[in-house]
Symmetry: D2
Subunit: 438 residues, 4 copies
């Protein structure tokens, strides 16, 4: 492809890139509830003549984790329809979200897979008048939901990349798959897409994520390392209720067992082989002030710079829960709600991507590492899936000034990254087409 | 009064005693929400010509503790009206519940105060077909509310006592005050009635509570000791939220601070001067799995066989919360939602009451102590108020076989205690009229 | 017996009572190390013609708990000899301490057993010049050992009682056994004496203990209740050492496991059926600052107003240790070092004893209860042993003003209690001889 | 200098290098007790004509941390004399250890400082016959002391380097200072030497440490990063003793306060900016099983991959101790026993050193990083001192197969590293003389 020509085309699409991002930002949707987003993607891509599978056809339901209840799914489908999603497309999705598009050139060449995540955070967006989405009228209309991690931008970039690739299909060889992944937050969706076989023939898989630019200018990082492993899990401790005044000894306090477990499990955070994280994000227990509480439920997560470190911490945390429950005559159940390994790009690919991206005029600088201590992305599952059969993978950082950090209610990014990001994908695809995967 | 005559009258009222108790059991109301119960009491007593103050006129609002929100109060007033309460009486109450009736003979004589508590527990009543309220159609119609502590019986007894006393007014001297107290559960209402001055002239104050009969037969206990002191309090710990993966060190986990406090405060339960209790009944904290939680709220209570023991435990528990908060860079607020001292009847009065009650044919036995280890009743505040100016007080146990313990969803009592209880009050009043307070 | 005569004889022995007490106070000996004390008892009693078994002949070694090491025993035997104990008697003891004397009248009559405890506390006695033992030259000469619980007085009383009984043998019927028990501190010795069969024929067993007189004057309590149950136990937690900087994850910190257990086990102190106590008296663990500690050893005790309450607490404490060890990949061992049940005198006997003791002119008052919340005495094992075959038992309080509380380095008592105590025993024996055991 | 010539000279000194190392290994001395080692250094260096300051003349006593007691110092001086140290030299040291030698060429040129640490670990050396020091008769003769960190080798290398430099003094310019540092273990000695001004004129400071060779062959690492920051501190918690049975509420358990602090402080180990370590190495508390313990003493350390991370953890640990003490009505004292910042070599210098060391024939490989996650060396204080005035610094890893890890009782290294290490120092000095510091 002629990159100069391509860059000019993307420049011409800037207003469309921004409009799409803002529409998604406004009609924001949480993981496994992205019915309107998926419908929008399908309409756009099929409109361009790109075959696109959606919902249940784009993933393996058995591998979907951390799903909402059936009632919530129904409610959200209704909500999506009210917010403009085509009911026929919603029906086609059969309760699942996400989309997988493919551009098959018919010519021998590499199979290149691209991942774009589409879900939002469960967070209340700021109403502060200085917050641009408020100022310019594209703030979240869905209460308690906010695109505070840039996936609205990722999706908009993905659609632009698809449009340009389709236009230049004749200049390409091989295949490009575009995976619009649901439920990245909580690391719940990537496995289900990988399990559908969508990466089985991929020679390379790429994704990009918006990050803060330490330089205050646009840049690109082809990352060699950085994604943490994680397990998201729920714990329910069951005790025995009793009158707290008359017979405390007949009770078994689920709250006290939980408290002992919570203080105990902190002891396992240090590890000479890497860095760990442990968070008890929520707790809820008990029914009345004067009743020994019989149930206490927690939502927890462990992370690790290395999968082994994370798994050790996760198992020690559970062992502590078990020990505390034994002491208190309580029992417990735990359920994994999301999981992904640690990950990083293939070093040589990261270097080549950083070099190629220097051609993009919007970038002031490129680098081969991303300082992302503690972050996770279940794209790591896709990278592992591709590497398993000898493919390569890379996670790219789209560096742009942020108004506030990720998952903050005032998160916002410099929208110039939209066209820069689209150019980056196209530049890297061009490089891979010319040079091969390596 | 002629006790034989009185006992016959009460025997004739048995069906009414039971009907009233069952009506109250069915239209059960929680503390500070007893609008229908209060209206029913006012109608019955005023109908008998007994002057009766209700709601705000019967207590000092400034001393009311553990009140529901204004929204809840409005909702409950509406509910009470729908369940038959006279709207004019509800309006008269001005958002508060409870009733104070008075029988003034105009003749010189003792001022005798009687306390009857009227509220229920926040508990879901059993739907088991073997549970008599279910069988006989008087199960709770208000979800999550249940008379599981016998206050429906206490109120029914109080109304019968008032009726008989009014009928025999000519045979009495002095004054009898009947206090129908709201919000005994949680020890929230007695102080407000006492603060209204309703006990300022009382020479004696009496209350009775249904308890399980170890003998399996009806009995009466004139208690010398037994009520534990208690403080009901809420704790809200405020931390600082942060991304649990990227910057855990910028957060201050309110849940971890709470956990440390909860394990630490257990160390102060042993006391050579008496017995203590500590319960964290409920806990709720955090917003999302991957966010360091910034808020954790608990509902707690301390109890002690002796007020000093209870207060020491309460203050140590708070000191532990403070210590944990300091360690975690958290802050906290605490609010007392109910409080009452330890208490027991005047020993001589307990002995005289037990002796007098032997005249009641329904009782198989009487005793002067009540094994009530760990229970509380804010009637202790009323006893203290009367003793402060030299009066006497006694708490009586109405012993009757229970189907299940207090605060159990299958709680039920042998209704023969209703007429036995009414007779007990009248017998004791007769004894005090004849012998003086002592 | 003629009590007036007896009281006069005891008055005449006062200087001897005090001298003996002070000699024992000076040459103080810890549990299972009372070689000099035992030799002194044997010499005195045998000198009076009272048959006396000592050491291994006076107990069942298999039931002796909390014994010192063989090296310590050797060292202490040497020390005792240096402090005047007859080496032949030490040899006769065969490594065990304690004495059992018997006065057999040959006449049909009750078998009355008396227990006197002889050991001291592991405590450094005060060197303050205002401390009477310092002032008057009978302070402890054995470092880290102190009679801070009055057993020196008990032993002196026992010897005086034996002397007077022997003198009046002709006026007695039945048998009197005098058990000079080792190792009462830590509740380690009574079981071994009981297991020897020394109480198998006893109709009654009595003991007395010096307590503070709330009245500031001498008094006697015939106690109906009051002794707590207890278990004394050691816990050794074994972890895994590792370099704390390079590989903390390879270690298993015995100290952290212990800390988690210590905070957790406090949660089980409240019990509706009685009062509990839990103390971790000592802890020692670790070898170096930068090494994950592989061993942590604790000396602990539980107590309960009721044996069931105490046993529940003990087992919950161990379950918490087990739970913490499982969480930390540690193991543990525990060893019981002393144990005794809760106990109190037979109520009727307590009443009779209090009544009889009113004859003793030294006592200003008598009572039937002893406020001894939390104290233990393995005399409870002896009471149980006698009750098992239908006998009776009572524990008596010798009430006298104390300078400082029990186990305090300034503990001292008003020595007038020595003659009052001896008179109390003789008065009660006289009453039992005359009235029978009942 | 002619490196070929130098390498040949060092090869000729191998037997001496080994003999010196083994002598030091046998007569091993702990931090601040290295009187014999210091005397040996002084004798050797002064014998070569190298001016050498020792003990109090070589450091600033006010900055010495973690010192033994005066009694211990006296005892160790005596011990050193008995083990052959010249009493005159011991006297010259005036209670302090360590040595600072200088080779002043008088010619303009760089001031190059070299640090060699001389102390051992407080560890019992293995008696296993397979342990080479046992086999070949150079096992520790000082009980509880062992060279398990290679400082015996470092010292031997330092002496050989001094000897060769002195011999080739004419070929050098500028100054070489050789600092034989006491008390590196516990990070207690470097500050005191730096505070003496011995580095004030240094253009560069170098040290080397023996590490395990992952390759199983000799190698050299010029490290860019790796040393952790650390604080070594003692904590003494003071409570209030009481009889654990009678009046637990009057006590304040120092052990329970410590336990709460220990579990609480683990919560602060995770940090997005780096990696932390926390170890409670030892604990000791309480006097008797049935006494509420009034004292509990701990030896602790914190570490961090970055000084700020370590300091945050240290302060949070202390805040937790303070919070727990407040809850338990205890007080505490803490004393810093050792401290040093995080550190690494100047990157450019590390690269140049690794390149130069390739000339040493003994090394199979060189590298520019050292995987030393979690280790500390107070040489970091010396690096900071030199950088403060614009100098450069580097810490070198001498990579050699180890028999067992550092601080393990079977630690031993391949002694070929002695001559390789000496050559490395001389090669780097030659490079710096030729090329300048840069």
């Amino acid at each position: 492809m002629d990159l100069t020509e391509i860059y000019r085309e993307i420049d011409g699409m800037e207003e469309k890139l921004i409009r799409t991002r803002r529409d998604l930002h406004r009609f924001v949707e949480s993981g496994w509830q992205e019915f309107r987003t998926t419908a929008l993607i399908a309409e756009r891509l099929r409109g361009l003549g790109i075959p696109t599978l959606i919902g249940r056809d784009a993933l393996d339901p058995a591998k979907a984790m951390g799903r909402p209840s059936a009632e919530e799914v129904e409610r959200e489908k209704k909500r999506a329809a009210e917010q403009g999603a085509d009911p026929a497309l919603i029906e086609e999705m059969r309760d699942y979200t996400g989309a997988a598009a493919v551009i098959e050139t018919g010519r021998k060449g590499p199979v290149i897979a691209l991942r774009f995540d589409i879900d939002c955070n469960d967070l209340k967006e700021s109403h502060d008048p200085s917050h641009r989405p408020v100022q310019e009228g594209f703030g979240s209309v869905n209460a308690g939901r906010m695109h505070a991690c840039g996936h609205d931008g990722h999706t908009s970039i993905g659609l632009a990349v698809a449009e340009v690739l389709k236009k230049h299909e004749a200049e390409l060889s091989g295949t490009v798959r575009l995976l619009f992944q649901p439920a990245e937050e909580g690391d719940r969706g990537a496995k289900a897409m990988a399990a559908k076989g969508l990466l089985d023939d991929a020679d390379v898989v790429l994704a990009a994520h918006i990050y803060d630019s330490p330089e205050g200018q646009l840049g690109l990082a082809g990352t060699q390392t950085g994604l943490y492993a994680t397990t998201k899990f729920d714990i329910a401790i069951h005790g025995r209720s009793a009158h707290a005044g008359f017979a405390p000894e007949e009770g078994a306090s689920a709250i006290q067992a939980a408290a002992l477990a919570l203080v105990g499990m902190q002891s396992f955070l240090q590890d000479g082989r890497g860095s760990g994280r442990l968070n008890i994000g929520t707790i809820e227990g008990g029914t009345g002030r004067n009743v020994v509480p019989e149930l206490c439920v927690m939502r927890a997560e462990t992370r690790g710079s290395d999968t082994e470190v994370e798994q050790r911490l996760y198992h020690k945390a559970l062992a502590t829960v078990e020990g505390a429950c034994n002491a208190f005559e309580c029992t417990f159940e735990t359920e994994v709600r999301g999981i992904c390994p640690a990950g990083g790009g293939d070093p040589d690919l990261a270097v080549r991507i950083a070099a190629a991206a220097q051609a993009v005029p919007d970038f002031t600088y490129t680098q081969t590492e991303l300082k992302n201590t503690g972050g996770t992305d279940d794209f790591a599952c896709m990278m592992d899936a591709v590497r398993e059969h000898g493919g390569k993978a890379c996670y790219m950082g789209l560096l742009t000034p942020l108004k506030a950090g990720h998952h903050n209610s005032c998160f916002d990014f410099d929208e110039r990254i939209l066209k820069a990001g689209a150019k980056a994908f196209l530049t890297v695809i061009d490089m891979l087409q010319r040079e091969g995967i390596g």
